[in-house]
């Protein structure tokens, strides 16, 4: 038998100290011993009287501990545990919890289509496509869009609130319409960004 070594990982004989340590910690049942040392401890028990005495001490403590009998759960607890889970989620007609299911595919597809549409609309209306000099969008008697300090000013500059709607055929009218388009782009880009941000967060 080895002497002095505190652990033995399947490398031959095991020391009496190690046998004592294993029996003190894990008890007398070989199934609880470290797997790598099990065979060596069994060999020590077969060969060594002191090891067998230690084993009997451990077995006596195991026997005393085996007298502990935890009570089974009450039926009330079982019911509470089952019902608490059921109560936390909506129940569908077929007796399944709807809250645990993944979202149905059609809903996902619709969400993806809306996101893709918003993205494409944003591309189509992007400022890179419509180049407008905002200083040229001023209506007679109104500040140009570029000078609008906030959304209220910008809306006031739009021809939608002007009783004299421009003739779309003349050059000024085209410039004003371009200004409208610019505003629509800003609004649409914002919506698309929000939609994409929402998707990313989901």
């Amino acid at each position: 038998m080895m002497s002095g070594a505190e652990t033995n990982r399947g490398q031959g004989p095991v020391s009496l100290n190690r046998v004592r340590r294993i029996l003190e910690a894990y008890g007398a049942a070989p199934a609880t011993w470290p797997a790598a040392e099990r065979a060596a401890v069994l060999a020590a028990l077969a060969d060594d009287e002191d090891a067998r005495r230690l084993w009997h001490e451990a077995a006596a403590l195991d026997a005393a501990l085996a007298g502990l009998a935890p009570p089974p759960p009450t039926e009330a607890l079982r019911r509470q545990v089952i019902e608490a889970a059921q109560a936390s989620l909506p129940k569908s007609q077929d007796g399944l919890w709807t809250g645990l299911r993944p979202p149905p595919v059609p809903r996902l597809a619709a969400l993806a289509a809306v996101a893709a549409g918003a993205f494409l609309l944003g591309l189509w209306l992007s400022p890179q496509v419509v180049q407008v000099d905002l200083d040229q969008t001023a209506l007679p008697g109104r500040a140009p869009l570029a000078a609008a300090s906030d959304m209220g000013d910008a809306l006031a500059a739009l021809p939608l609130v002007d009783p004299d709607l421009p003739d779309m055929a003349d050059e000024d009218g085209i410039r004003r319409s371009a200004g409208l388009l610019q505003m629509a782009t800003i609004a649409t880009d914002g919506a698309a960004s929000q939609a994409l941000t929402g998707l990313a967060l989901e």
Partner: protein
């Protein structure tokens, strides 16, 4: 009782439930994973079966940790609610379902001890059924009470290690994972814990059950 020989199983040792736990672990895990998938897909029956498979062990473990039924049932219920919230995103182990549940119950029990939220002291917790026991049961009940007091004398981590290994059949590696420590530290917790138990249970050890 003779010590086990070379190649022998744990025959003769009185912790039979431990052997049962270990021999059935693999198939139990496979069944648990299947039930979790079914429960996550919405099957209430699968959830009920998971509860029936594991609630007794979790409640018993919490009772061993806390020493009274009311706290044990609170911890068991809380453990299962956390488990239920987890099953939609559950990934096959390790840890096994059994190990995961015991880990959560360990943390909840230790937290309860630490924050002093125990509902009843160990010595004052008596089951109503116990009171109607006849005189023949007195000796066994007295031993039960001694055992519970002895377990209560351990530190939370010593008690968790001893109960998980000796009553619930977990390996050193599993217990180390549950307690966020090393296998060597688990061995120390077990050795120190069993030493305290041996001292506290000296009267029982000197006069084993059934001996005059």
């Amino acid at each position: 009782m003779p010590p086990p020989g070379r190649g022998a199983g744990p025959g003769g040792v009185r912790i039979a439930s431990m052997t049962l736990h270990r021999s059935g672990q693999l198939s139990d895990s496979v069944q648990d994973e299947a039930l979790i998938r079914a429960a996550a897909a919405g099957s209430q029956d699968a959830w009920r079966r998971l509860v029936d498979r594991h609630l007794p062990a979790v409640t018993g473990y919490a009772w061993s940790m806390l020493g009274n039924r009311a706290d044990a049932e609170d911890v068991a219920q809380d453990t299962f609610l956390r488990f239920f919230r987890k099953i939609a995103t559950w990934q096959a182990g390790p840890p096994s379902v059994r190990a995961w549940l015991h880990r959560v119950a360990t943390n909840l029990s230790i937290d309860r001890h630490r924050t002093g939220r125990l509902q009843a002291a160990v010595s004052s917790d008596a089951d109503p059924a116990d009171e109607s026991a006849d005189a023949d049961m007195d000796d066994r009940l007295d031993r039960q009470a001694q055992l519970r007091r002895a377990l209560a004398a351990l530190t939370d981590r010593q008690r968790a290690a001893v109960v998980l290994v000796h009553y619930h059949g977990f390996t050193q590696q599993e217990v180390a994972s549950m307690l966020d420590t090393s296998v060597e530290a688990v061995e120390s917790l077990l050795a120190r814990g069993r030493r305290v138990l041996r001292d506290r249970l000296a009267p029982i050890l000197e006069h084993p059950e059934g001996e005059e």
